[in-house]
Every structure is written in structure tokens, then in C-alpha cells.
């Protein structure tokens, strides 16, 4: 008695999860609750601002406490949202397990001959009377049927014959492939959450680190050293619109360089399962940089120099001495006064001011702009100075993630694409062709068919078979 009771409870739970109604209710709940997180900012400080604006400063704290209890500020990871997702998964699994045997039977049960009266009620139906013998009609329809790539079976009937076949039965399983891919995505997400992490790291030019920092600021050891050789922003010609952000990263194992790569947005570096993404950049406060200049005289050999502000350099072959006087991260002209001015703290348009002392004549001072190399060509003196970089003041902001679940997400994606294709674009087609004598040396042909999707394409196929067979029969008549 007690045993039976238990079985009933289990059956009850199973039946609860096997219901499509539950699936629709869950989809609805997931859709509605997901909206909350797109409206309420998913970060406490921003959420406080938001609540203050919506509810006023008096009621906002009370609302905030309720929101805090319900995890609305991190709702996609809250216990209740995760519960909904788990219920969704269980529902998906149980529903599929419940339905697969029935669908499998439908796929595996071979198509049978169809009674005449049923055949005439099918969604696809054609009828034709042809002046020919039963045998010829049978042969030609068999040929045409087979030409449409069907594995045709035949059943003799009292007054004629029936050809029938089916195709694409497996397309009925496509939907379960999609369900499987959704479960795989959950598996991938769980693996990622359990064994992976998200972190970030700011590396200044020339700097390195053995750890990255989690969202809460805790250091996570990498097991190797990551270094940044340089960071740069490229701009579209003649404008301050960034074209690309890039950094040269190096990986060091025991002090030895093992990998070097220039990363850009959309082009990260992966090493030992850890991926480094270009995500931001900035200026290190109070940093002193090094000017990298490339100098050549009279088209002669180029020489690259690394100097600090105030330092001087000799130009090979010419009796000219250069001294670095000043620097501007973003040199521009004031639109009103026309005077030179620095319009930004970031290195948008870096410029270096150099004083040139020429032996035996007056010197001069000029600005050389990194983005406009023509500003460094001094024709009279046969001199070319290129401002390559102001190195060491910028840092590159890296997003770091380790996610061993991603590979499963990718596999799930492929499985889902295949499943969707089969489920939505292939169809289970069945066709029956009944041929019976109609007296006076003619036969009547009835075609009937059904399709799980895209009836129109089956209709066309039926027409094609009919036209093909009719044409072949006519051809035979002419030969005789």
C-alpha cells in the first residue's frame, strides 16, 4: 500500500514535468521576469540612483531592501531565477523523454498501402485518366516515383496496384536535437561557472603581472606571467574617431618569453585556456614617458632614439643638436583664438616640441605630431624626425576570462543549428499512387500524399511525378 503511494507521488511529479502547459508557463515566466533585470541596473550603486529617481528618496531605501531580498540587482544569478531555469531544464528533459518513444515509433513504422476512400481525403491529391494499359502505367509511375528519389513499395490490389513510399521520417526528431542543444548550453554554462572565472587586469606599457583580479578585487594567480610591450590607439585619418585599440602582449614562463601577440578588439590572445581581451585603456597618473624618435639626415640611415624630456640628441652627419622641450598628449588649435592648446588628457594627438640648435646659425623650435609625420620633415636642414611613440604612460585594460565551458557552448551551437534546420526546413513526406483500370483500355491514377511541413513542395513533387509518368506513357504510344 505504502509502496503504491510512493509510486503515485513519483508518477505525479513525472506527469507534472511532462506537461506542455508547464513548458508554456515557464517560458512565459522566464520572459516576464527577465524584463526586470533589463530595467533595474544590475549593479548596486547604479540601482540606488535608479530607485531614487523612480520612487523618490523617501521610499527608495525601503524598495531597495525588498529588491535586495529578491536579488533584483543580480537577478540573473538569483536563487529564484536559477530555480526557474532548472525547472525549465527538467521540464524540457522529461517532456522530450516522454515524447521521444512515440515519435520514434512514428518514424520507424513503415508506411502502409492506403484505402481508396482515405486516399482521396489527403491534403495533397491528384487524379488523372490515361489511355494505356495497367502494366505500362505501373511501370512508368514506378520510374517517375523512383526518379524523385523515393524507395518505392508496391501492393497489388483487387482491381489494380498501389505504389507508395515515404521520405524524411527522421525530420520529426529535429526538435529533440534542438532540445538536446539547449541542455548542452546549460551544461556548458555550469562548467563555466564552476571551473572558470572572469577577471580584469590593467597593465602599463612595459609592465607585467602574475595575477589577474576578480570582480570583487581578489587576485587570481595565472600560473605564468603576462606582460604588455605597448598599447596604442589608431585613429581614422584626419579625425579623432578611434579605428583600433591594440596592445602587444607577451607570455613569460619562468622568465622566458614563450608567446608574443598583438591583440585588438575582436582578436584576443589565448594561452593555457585563459583568454585576454582588449577592453579599455587609460593614462597612468603622474607617469613619465619615454619619447621614441626616429631620426634621419639627408635621406641617410635612420636611427631610433629613446629619450626623456629635457634630454638632447645629436643628429648623425649634421651639426644639429635636438632637445626635447615640451609634450602635449592632444595638441590642437583653439577654434577662437587660433592658439595652440591641449584639448584632452588622453593621447589623442600626441605632439613633442623639439628645439634644434644648429652650429653657426640660429636654432628653431617646432612641434612634431605623431599622427602627422609630415610635421617632422625639415627640408632646409635635410632633416627628418619621426615621433614614433610616447612610451610608458598608457596602460592597457584587459578583460581576462577562463571558461572551459565555451567549447561545449560551441558544440551546442552547431547541434542547435543542425536541429533547427531539420526541425523547420525538412519534412516527413508520404505519397501513395493508386492505379486501377477504368475500362475501354484506360487507367485511372489517384495520387495522395501528406507532409509534416511544407505541403506545397510535396504538391509540386506529386505534380512532377504525374507529369513525368504521363509524358513517358505518351512517348511509348508514339513509338508504337
Amino acid at each position: 500500500m505504502e509502496n503504491k503511494e510512493k509510486v503515485n507521488i513519483f508518477d505525479g511529479i513525472w506527469a507534472f514535468f511532462a506537461s506542455v502547459k508547464l513548458a508554456i508557463v515557464l517560458l512565459f515566466l522566464l520572459a516576464v521576469t527577465s524584463i526586470i533585470g533589463t530595467v533595474v541596473p544590475q549593479e548596486s550603486p547604479k540601482a540606488i540612483q535608479f530607485l531614487g529617481r523612480v520612487f523618490g528618496d523617501n521610499t527608495a531605501p525601503a524598495v531597495y531592501n525588498i529588491f535586495l531580498k529578491l536579488d533584483f540587482m543580480d537577478m540573473y544569478h538569483s536563487w529564484w531565477f536559477v530555480t526557474l531555469l532548472v525547472l525549465f531544464c527538467v521540464n524540457l528533459t522529461v517532456c522530450s523523454l516522454e515524447k521521444i518513444p512515440r515519435t520514434w515509433k512514428l518514424v520507424k513504422t513503415p508506411v502502409k498501402p492506403m484505402a481508396k476512400n482515405v486516399l482521396e481525403t489527403l491534403p495533397v491529391k491528384k487524379e488523372i485518366t490515361l489511355k494505356t494499359s495497367l502494366d505500362i502505367a505501373r511501370d512508368e509511375f514506378l520510374n517517375a516515383f523512383r526518379a524523385s528519389k523515393y524507395d518505392v513499395k508496391e501492393a497489388a490490389e483487387e482491381d489494380g496496384t498501389q505504389l507508395y513510399s515515404e521520405k524524411g521520417g527522421y525530420s520529426r526528431l529535429g526538435v529533440y536535437v534542438v532540445h538536446l542543444s539547449i541542455l548542452l548550453i546549460f551544461v556548458g554554462a555550469i562548467i563555466g561557472a564552476r571551473f572558470g572565472y572572469d577577471g580584469s587586469l590593467n597593465l602599463r606599457e612595459g609592465g607585467g603581472s602574475d595575477v589577474v583580479y576578480s570582480r570583487s578585487g581578489e587576485p587570481i594567480p595565472l600560473g605564468f606571467t603576462i606582460g604588455c610591450n605597448w598599447y596604442k590607439t589608431d585613429y581614422y585619418k584626419g579625425s579623432d574617431t578611434p579605428q583600433e585599440f591594440s596592445s602587444e602582449l607577451v607570455i613569460l614562463e619562468n622568465g622566458k618569453e614563450v608567446l608574443k601577440k598583438v591583440i585588438e578588439v575582436n582578436n584576443p590572445l589565448t594561452y593555457k585556456g585563459i583568454t585576454f581581451y582588449q577592453s579599455s585603456y587609460g593614462i597612468v597618473p603622474d607617469a613619465v614617458g619615454i619619447f621614441v624618435l626616429k631620426v634621419s639626415a639627408n635621406g641617410g640611415a635612420e636611427k631610433t632614439m629613446r629619450l626623456q624630456q629635457g634630454e638632447s640628441f645629436e643628429i648623425p652627419g649634421l651639426k644639429i643638436k635636438g632637445t626635447i622641450m615640451d609634450f602635449s598628449p592632444a595638441l590642437g588649435r583653439d577654434p577662437q583664438s587660433g592658439a595652440l592648446t591641449t584639448y584632452s588628457d588622453s593621447l589623442v594627438n600626441p605632439a613633442v616640441s623639439i628645439r634644434f640648435d644648429i652650429e653657426g646659425s640660429d636654432g628653431f623650435t617646432g612641434w612634431i605630431l605623431k599622427r602627422y609625420p609630415e610635421t617632422g620633415i625639415i627640408k632646409d636642414a635635410g632633416l627628418k624626425v619621426e615621433f614614433l611613440d610616447y612610451w610608458g604612460v598608457e596602460y592597457t585594460g584587459l578583460q581576462v576570462s577562463k571558461d572551459p565551458g565555451v567549447i561545449i557552448i560551441y558544440i551546442a551551437s552547431i547541434v542547435m543549428v543542425l536541429g533547427l534546420y531539420v526541425a523547420f526546413f525538412l519534412s516527413h513526406k508520404k505519397l501513395w499512387i493508386r492505379i486501377a483500370p477504368a475500362g475501354k483500355g484506360s487507367v485511372k491514377v489517384n495520387i495522395g500524399g501528406s507532409a509534416s511541413k511544407n505541403r506545397l513542395s510535396l504538391e509540386r513533387q506529386a505534380e512532377h511525378i504525374l507529369a513525368g509518368a504521363a509524358a513517358a506513357i505518351e512517348g511509348r504510344l508514339k513509338k508504337i
Binding site: V20, A31, S34, F245, V265, S401, V406, F424
Partner: protein, 368 residues
């Protein structure tokens, strides 16, 4: 000829086609209908040409700014699908394309009277909204091979959902016997809100000063009605809207007689509604969600970050998944399931426009 001239011609052609389709409904002359189709096809070809020319232009601009990229890469970077303006033009292109296929398949030209106004008005809206039509430099985040496929497939999905919405609106109007039906009441509210927002945006346009058209969507949206600084205008807007919805509810099912007289059947509408979703859903899943996730993983370091755009895509996906299951396994038919098609499209509109207007997030370039 440059792309903006061709765009102008196609907008004009769509307006002419709209007028001819409407007069076809009035006069039922076959010749009129054929002319309407011909003008639509002409407009469509012009728009296709304009899109290709714009693609060529931005291809050249990109190739000049980044000489080291390969031909194929430059082609992908140049795809005209990178801001609000370009995406809306492409959306209209998809709508007209799908409409022409439907006209051919269902051999019914009267539907054009309903679809072409949407296309023409959308293009006119782009014109008046003051969105930037310039070819903007491609920001680093968008420099990916996924851009073309992700946006292209998403928008074909959106357009297919749009068609299913139109079919569902017509279907519920045709299938309603009494004004007390829940589906019909929902229909009145949903269609009413859509129309009210459109009308309110029209009023915004008429009332704004011509010198300040800059960022219409953010700075003018509903400012002349519901969000006006004048309290009277706000109250008046709400009252008018309530009256409008009531009127729609009272007289809306008169649409049924119009549709019947156009030899549009319920079966046909239900078929269009379902088939559009059956095409839109897999394309949206693959292009919008899967490709989006793969791209996000290579650009942002995570394939899913619950960004508002991502979340709203998922919400839309949940609704249409619900539609398909309700219909296939739950056995829902007719009005009940058509209501889901209406809700689904509300999700689409929010995913496409609402997120860019009201919420901020990683996808914010769509609002420029």
C-alpha cells in the same frame, strides 16, 4: 547616380505603389494591381541598387583607411548594417522582399495595400527623424566578420516576425464574433498602442523646430504628447488615447468585412502567420542569438552577459518558442495562438528599438 538618389527614388516608388494598391482595393481592376506590383518591383530594385552602392562606398572608405585588410574582409567591414539608419533601410528592404514572395505565392495582390504603407512610412520616418545618414567610420567593436551575418539574419528574422504580426492583426479581426472576447480586447489595446505611438511620433515631428532635428529619437520622442512639459497636454494625450482605443475596440472588427471583400481568408492569414514565424524563428535563433553569442565571446570575453539587448532577444525567443509549442504540442489554434504572435512582435520592437531608446548597454551603437 549615387545611393541617396536611388533611396529617394525607391521611397517615392513605394509611396506610389501604396497608392496604387489602395486604389486596386477600391476599383478591383487587374491592370491596376499589375501596375502596383511593377512599381513595387521597380522600387525594390532601386533600393537594392542603393544598398549595393552604399556598400561599395563604405567598402572603399574602409579599404582606404585600412589598406592591409583583404578584399573579403573589407567587403564584410563595409556591409551597410552598422547603425540605426542603415538597419532600418535594410529592415524595409526585407519587408518588401518577403511581401513580394508572398504576393507571388498566394496570388493575392490586395495585401500590398497593408504592407506597402508600412514600408513607405518607415522610409519616410527615417527621413524625418534626422538620423545620421552619413557613412560613419566603423568603431573597433564592430570590426568583425560576424557583423554582416549576425545583423543580416537578425533582420530577416525581425521582418518575418513583422509579417506574422500583420497577419495576426488581420486574423484576429476576421475571427472575432463578439467584442467581449479577450483576444479581441487585447487586440484593440495592442494595435491601439502601436498606432498611438506612431501618431505621437508624427506629432513630435510636426511640432519640433526644424533647426533641432539632430538626435530625434532620444531628445524628442513623445515630447509633444505623453512626455510634454505641459500637464494639460499630457492629460489630453491620455484621454485621446483612451478614446482612440475604445473606438478601435468598438469599430475595429469592421476590418473583417473589408478583408472578406478582398478574398482574404482566415486560413490564408493563419498560414502566413505561422509560416513567417517558422522561417523567422530558426533564422533569429541562429543569426541573432547563436552568432551573437559567438561574436560576444570573441569581442567581450563572454558569450552571454545579460546585456539588455541580449536579454530582450532571449525574451523574444521565449515568446516565439512558446508560440510554437502552444501550436504544435499544446494544440492551440486560431485567436489564442495569434495573441502570442502579437506579443512576440512587441518583444521584437522592444529588442530592436526600445532597448536602444530606453536602456543602455553594450549594444549602444545601434542607437546612433
Amino acid at each position: 547616380m549615387d545611393s541617396s538618389t536611388l533611396f529617394g527614388i525607391s521611397t517615392f516608388a513605394y509611396f506610389v505603389a501604396m497608392a496604387i494598391y489602395v486604389s486596386y482595393i477600391a476599383f478591383r481592376k487587374n491592370g491596376v494591381a499589375v501596375t502596383a506590383t511593377a512599381v513595387t518591383v521597380f522600387g525594390f530594385l532601386c533600393q537594392t541598387g542603393a544598398l549595393l552602392l552604399r556598400w561599395m562606398d563604405s567598402f572603399n572608405i574602409w579599404a582606404a583607411s585600412a589598406p592591409s585588410t583583404t578584399f573579403i574582409e573589407s567587403l564584410l567591414r563595409g556591409a551597410p548594417l552598422r547603425n540605426m539608419y542603415e538597419s532600418m533601410v535594410f529592415f524595409v528592404w526585407c519587408i518588401v522582399f518577403i511581401y513580394l514572395i508572398m504576393e507571388f505565392k498566394y496570388k493575392n495582390r490586395s495585401l500590398g495595400a497593408f504592407v506597402m504603407p508600412v514600408a513607405a512610412l518607415a522610409l519616410a520616418f527615417i527621413d524625418v527623424s534626422g538620423m545620421s545618414t552619413e557613412i560613419q567610420p566603423l568603431i573597433p567593436a564592430l570590426q568583425s566578420n560576424w557583423l554582416l551575418f549576425h545583423v543580416f539574419l537578425s533582420f530577416i528574422g525581425y521582418a518575418a516576425f513583422g509579417v506574422s504580426f500583420a497577419a495576426a492583426v488581420a486574423y484576429i479581426a476576421m475571427a472575432t464574433d463578439s467584442k467581449g472576447e479577450k483576444a479581441y480586447i487585447f487586440w484593440s489595446i495592442a494595435v491601439g498602442v502601436f498606432l498611438i505611438v506612431l501618431i505621437a511620433m508624427g506629432i513630435d515631428y510636426l511640432s519640433m523646430s526644424s533647426s533641432a532635428q539632430g538626435d530625434y529619437l532620444r531628445s524628442y520622442f513623445l515630447k509633444a504628447s505623453f512626455l510634454s512639459s505641459s500637464g494639460i497636454v499630457v492629460i489630453f494625450s491620455w484621454i485621446i488615447s483612451a478614446v482612440f482605443i475604445l473606438a478601435l475596440w468598438r469599430y475595429g472588427h469592421g476590418l473583417r468585412k473589408v478583408l472578406e471583400s478582398l478574398s482574404i481568408t482566415k486560413i490564408m492569414l493563419e498560414d502566413i502567420e505561422y509560416k513567417s514565424i517558422a522561417i523567422g524563428f530558426p533564422l533569429f535563433t541562429i543569426g541573432g542569438l547563436i552568432m551573437g553569442a559567438i561574436w560576444a565571446n570573441s569581442a567581450w570575453g563572454t558569450y552571454w552577459s545579460w546585456d539588455p539587448k541580449e536579454t530582450w532577444s532571449l525574451i523574444t525567443w521565449f515568446i516565439y518558442a512558446g508560440y510554437l509549442h502552444a501550436r504544435f504540442v499544446g494544440g492551440w489554434r486560431g485567436k489564442k495562438v495569434s495573441v502570442l504572435a502579437l506579443i512576440g512582435f512587441i518583444g521584437v520592437v522592444f529588442t530592436y528599438l526600445g532597448v536602444n531608446l530606453f536602456l543602455s548597454g553594450l549594444h549602444s551603437y545601434g542607437g546612433q
